[in-house]
Amino acid sequence: MRSLRWRGRIIPAAPVRTVPTWVLLTPALVVVLGLFGGGLALGALRSLDADPLPGQMAWSLAAWGRVLGDGGTWASFGLSLWIAGASTLLSVLFGVAVALMLRGAFRGRALASWLVQLNLAVPHLVGAVGILYLLSQSGVLARIAFAAGAIEGPADFPALIWDPWAAGIVLQYVWKEVPFLALVTLAALQGIGRDYEAAARSLGAGPARAFAHVTWPQIRPAVTGGAVIVFAFAFGAYEIPALLGASYPKAMPVLAWERFTDPDLARRPEAMALALLIAALCGALVLAGARGLRLGGVR
């Protein structure tokens, strides 16, 4: 054990750790396994229980058969994939761009940073209501267009809310997640400094080449991590597609909730099967993301 001297005092070094790692991990594991693992196990059990009455079990795969054999499930799956994929891609593009702009020194940088981070504190639901009032066919923009004589009625305004392309939902997620990804990317950018990039530029690389070959590989782990979080959230969240989504297909979480609250108790196992599908896909994605980080040679 070595000790440090600081202003004449001797600061003892931390004692050598003798507690095994798994003991230190236990509290976190109990919470994760107990709450999530227990919830998943309970959900799996309920998805296999054909008897709707509480306290009785009747093993059956019928709910899984109904869910997997229903074209509506796959339409919902496709929609959720589209919402999460498009939201993530656009958020990454804009988030990284914003971070690159904010890292330099310029007049009003503090104000710009503050403005970018402003909506981090706005709840998703509040943002969704704002999008609704702004973009619906009788929203603020439609009213301005009507007053300017550009449209003759609500139906002439493009359908951005409750539309088959889920434009309103994607816009809401992008609006909300760009600051998050910008913040993550900015932290990574500030961690690596500008020396490597400056060296590349002095050796003749243009800005695009320097970004692609020098900066991007260094911030990629942080951006990938952030993107995985955004994707998993957008894929599994209920409230935005419930408020801004079309009647068909419904996003996976909305479909699961509809089955869960169906007055016919026999449909509850289908809700559990749907919820497990959502969890499985998100889990697979996080694993793939982690694997991608390792393959990228980053520890």
Partner: protein, 407 residues
Amino acid sequence: MTYRPLLAAMLAAPILAPAFAIGAAAQDAPTDWDSVVEEARGGEVNFFLWGGADNINAYVSDYVGGLLEEEYGITLNAVPLTDTADAVNLVLSEREAGVTEGGAVDLVWINGENFRTMKQGDLVWCGWTDVLPNDDLIDWENPAIANDFGVPVEGCEAPWSTAQFAFGYDSARTEEPPRSIPDLVEWVKANPGRFTYPAPPDFNGSAFVRHVFYHAAGGVDGLIGPFDQATYDAAAEEAWDILNEMEPHLWREGATYPTSITQLQQMFANREVDLIFDYNPSQFGVFVEDGTFPETTRSYGLDDGTIGNTNYLAIPANAANRAAAMVAVNVMLSGETQLEKARPGVWGAPPAIDVSRLPQDLQDGFGALPQHPSVVPAAELAETALPELQGEWVSAIDAGWQENVGR
């Protein structure tokens, strides 16, 4: 691997928990009202109800809550829901987790398939209604009161209000609204993009689809009673044909439907559509008064009649505060609170009690209620009232719509 026993225990816990719930049964109902009141005094009631209308929330929290506080020292906690099924699910989940008493829900505003679910799952407390002094005001001989969507009530809930479906329109925009399903189809074709309905399972959208279904079945008579697949199949084909014939002429060419009655109300207020409907027609008057709907809003029933129902108050079998919930129901069934509820500016909900059994001054009060010009009189609607169907029918029609029209 050392973690296996721990993992096994975690997996087993949720499996074993429901086992403890078996054998939970409703306790016997009390027989003595005075002891109920004594037990209820100073307590609280967690009342779960659909919370989508500000005026209803105000009536429940302020007026009924005020009376309970004043007379019994009981605190009424109104818990707003977007869907009554949420409360049923909460009770069911508690039951699955072994919570057979001390549950979170003391009282729930309910009817139809949700009541059927609670009764089917033994989740509702029965046999307490005839202990209430104001039970004398209820006409249990009336089949529309004694049956909830075709399911016998049998003392498992107390009626609170009646309701009957009506259509609404803006008389300044629309001169002659359609008064039958065939007329509606023609009207929709002549006014493309100006009509739509909320997708079932929305409560009001589901009721609208049932009107089309009744028409397709040649009237409701053949649909009364338990679910019958052959009868359903025959009527369903015709019903989906009618709705699919309308679809390309609906709002957004029928590519999508609103997902809630609230969304349709906003669209009517914003003039995106020209027709509206509501199971609670007094809402039209409320929306006119608060400026959401134009003053020229008018409402009406269909020539072949519109569907009516009775809605109820139920106490879950595992409710924590049964006595206080009973006192709350008794207060809500009194002539005074039912009269207040019927006032157009308050809620405008028709009473579920038999008004002729009230003292003369209260009867006069009901007789003197002003009629809002935007709200079709309940008596006029009631001349051609159609009954609701049993829950299996409602579920089958909702699922059939999603399968054949909604996608």
